[in-house]
Symmetry: C2
Subunit: 515 residues, 2 copies
């Protein structure tokens, strides 16, 4: 521990007991946000939270991964302003009064009312696409693959929750791409899906990929593919979405280019987003009743060394611990030593809560055998390892831990996806995960299913083998199936959608779809 | 070039001519912002700008350095909310009505007026210190050394300028530390000054360090030390400030701790900040009439390889270029190849504009000698280097370029600091830099000097040897001298200050002092 993060150890040293995750996931989640030093929820505005340094360390590593994946696939990072003038914002919004309920408006600079109100971006289309209009001139200007990581805002009047439902989304990664043809944009959607799937794998998180049904796609877009995670309580959390926007936005924003033959054509666009919900999913899937369990790539502290000290041989033990620490650090491993006066149980508690991947204990008896005891955070399995090769052992165990976390999560997820043939079966399994069921493909049958089940259709699974079945509503034979789930957060748009009189222009409910 | 940043090359390929820097620095600065692909100034709100990917690449590397320096000195990164409730904000502000002119207020969530207005942080004391009150309990909780890199806002009604005077400061690095004793906080200010000096050295920027006079210190703080850069037009730009806050803020925010003897005491605090002005300074000091000149650590592209192709031997030349490219990349050097059809002059123009540190040209004749031609961006000096050892040559030249840029900047700065003994002399030199002159230390004489000279006292230099002199106003002998300068941006507070009837509580004009 450095001198500077003492307020965290203080947090942990409360020795908060976590409620059992299996029995009350919601309470467990709220408790680990504090006990795991992720965020302070006491900031005096509802829905705004403070990242503790330890939590920020997790965030930093998670976003380093998504940046790396994007940078390695031709994307470039950029930064657009937070404030969007009402005039620009309302180009898209003039027919929508209802949406205004969700946007924070800056109306005053000092005590003077502004001539033009400014929206805090709930999403950045209306900030970015007017610039794209200026930047895209010729077919040679494409593809344009840009992204930014920014704070976005939404005026939530319902209950809020750290990392999941926020008024300030502190960590919104949004990519906005422009392509000459529809097919190239479609290819980009596939690439985005692949990047996101890889990203979640790096967090040891398996995802369900599906193509959203027509009535749940990005409004104004051509189609939406989305990634969901099955949370421990069986509900699904949408953690990433990829939209093919066609030329719809290009028409609104007048993004045109000169083709190779000298004609003018509208550009095709995609956008795809990820928020700090990815961290909510990671914590929720891997954590246990002892605290955080973090994939090694993410853990701010990967290894803790605990010297087991007796009067006799204490000096030798400390020397061995220091030697191991230096060797691990030399390999870039994030390691701490805990030689404090805490009793061993308290030390274990403290470092387990923080999700430290490996605990190394070295005592006089270990030294006699030139070995140490290693304990894995995820399995609790103890192992005796020779000191001489301990760096290799640590590396191998960290690699294994990442893979084991992923494999365990895949197994858990698979056990929570229930193939069903009747709606009664679906009803039964929804408390414990996601159902698949045949669907004829008609909106009418789909919505009937949702009504009967009081649940949502996620979409048509990608990469899931299945046989033909019978639509449980109309009885027609079909080769389509859908995921049905209790969703973790029913987005505002879905509720609105039930008022079909309101026309929704493209881009309008973007945020709800991104998150 | 990757496929994705074509809108930059397009910008550059306009072949904009920069106005001569020496004759009209202001116009040159505005032009290079665009020609150097730093920012698009066409965003439809005054004072808000869009970072181009190329400019963002510069920003990223600059902020990687300051983060590294802070992380290596016990600081931890964190993140606090943007929105500050009026109730919290006004704890500090109840006596200040005038200040409200500078703050953006969110008054509406959707169409509903908010119960409590929310300020967009102009600075984060009122967001951070209420949490510090909760976090600091005991002497063992200190020192607390936190920082964040965030966007902050100010309602500028006067003229705005990219990187220098903004409505959204996109890159505000603010550190806020807490200490048990006044002396420890004073030590922290020295450490901050050292970190900032090192930071600017990494950007090859020498700074003037001074202790601000009493009337120009952080209001409510105990004292302020600040770093200024002398810009090419002779005016100074404040680029970093470090404030000892004493216990003043702790008293306002009730940040108390239990001492080792069990008593309650107020904590001592410091804060220090840096904004994207550091990038404005870097560009301004090193750039020339051909475009950006960037220190190698910062340059998004460090080396460009230009194959000189004729019909004969083209294949061999390309093979040699590819080989050099691969070897440089293998060493982590950011290198591009320009084998485009542009004529050589256009290629030189393009890469010089982007501040690429080294150009490597390889043609058939070079190959005969197993050598290449290297051209340094800053000096334009050509050098013939053997291909076999070219990686080492490149590394050595980049190291030399950093040092040479710094040395040249130091020499330039020193030539722009003019020791004076009379106010008439000061008047004369102020068009071309900073004056030093003796000062008795009284506020009355100091302000008289400022009035007579229509210039500002930066402060009492640190680390500048000088002899005793005579205060030019009162004629007293004194061992003190001051820096006097035309300041690049006269901060709002200074102007306000002239209305002494208004009481300023601590922290109120923080932003103006940070920037």
């Amino acid at each position: 521990m450095t001198e500077s993060n003492k307020q965290e150890s203080k947090t942990v040293e409360k020795e908060m007991t976590l409620p059992p995750k299996a029995e009350n996931f919601g309470e467990w989640f709220n408790a680990i946000i504090e006990a795991g030093s992720l965020m302070d929820v006491r900031y005096p505005v509802k829905g705004l939270y403070v990242w503790y340094p330890f939590g920020f360390g997790i965030r930093k590593r998670v976003y380093t991964i998504i940046r790396e994946l994007l940078d390695n696939t031709g994307h470039e990072e950029t930064l657009f302003p937070l404030l969007i003038p009402e005039t620009e914002f309302m180009k898209e919004a003039e027919h929508i009064k209802g949406f205004e309920e969700e946007v924070y408006w800056v109306t005053h600079g000092g005590t003077s009312p502004l001539d033009v109100k400014l929206a805090l971006r709930p999403t950045s289309e209306t900030a970015i696409y007017p610039m794209y209009k200026l930047w895209i001139r010729s077919h040679a200007d494409m593809p344009l693959l840009l992204y930014q990581v920014v704070n976005t805002f939404r005026y939530e009047t319902k209950s809020t929750r750290p990392l999941i439902r926020l008024r300030e989304i502190t960590s919104f990664k949004e990519a906005h791409t422009v392509h000459a043809t529809w097919d190239e944009a479609a290819e980009q959607v596939e690439k985005a899906v692949e990047i996101y799937t890889d990203f979640f794998k790096r967090l040891s998180i398996p995802t369900l990929l599906s193509k959203r049904p027509e009535w749940d796609k990005f409004p104004g877009g051509d189609y939406t593919k989305a990634l969901d995670v099955i949370m421990p309580d069986g509900k699904t959390l949408q953690v990433g979405t990829c939209h093919h926007l066609g030329t719809n936005f290009a028409k609104t924003y007048d993004i045109r280019y000169e083709t190779e033959t000298g004609d003018q054509a509208y550009a095709n666009q995609t956008c795809y987003g990820i928020s700090e919900r990815c961290i909510a999913a990671m914590i929720s899937l891997h954590g246990d009743d002892k605290g955080l369990v973090l994939p090694p790539e993410i853990a701010p502290v990967q290894v803790v060394i605990i010297p087991v000290l007796f009067r006799k041989g204490a000096e030798e033990v400390m020397a061995a611990c220091n030697d191991v620490m230096a060797r691990l650090k030399g390999e870039g491993i994030r390691v701490e030593m805990d030689a404090s006066d805490l009793r061993p149980g308290a030390k274990y508690y403290k470092w387990e809560m923080k999700g430290v991947c490996l605990r190394i204990e070295i005592g006089p008896r270990d030294l006699e055998n030139r070995s140490a005891v290693l304990v894995r955070r995820d399995t609790g399995v103890k192992e005796t390892a020779p000191l001489d090769t301990i760096v290799d052992t640590v590396k191998a165990e960290m690699k294994a831990m990442h893979d084991d976390l992923y494999d365990a999560a895949v197994e858990k997820m698979n056990s929570m996806v229930h193939p069903c043939t009747k709606l009664e079966e679906v009803k039964e399994v929804l408390g414990n995960g996601v159902a698949t069921i045949a669907w004829c493909g008609s909106e009418e049958c789909g919505k009937k299913m949702e009504d009967i089940l009081d649940a949502g259709i996620l979409g048509i699974p990608e990469h899931l083998k299945h046989e033909n079945g019978i639509c449980p509503v109309c009885g027609k034979e079909t080769d389509k199936i859908v995921y049905i789930a209790k969703k973790y957060w029913i987005c505002v748009f879905e509720k609105r959608h039930e008022t079909p009189a309101v026309w929704r222009p493209p881009g309008f409910f973007f945020l709800y779809y991104q998150l």
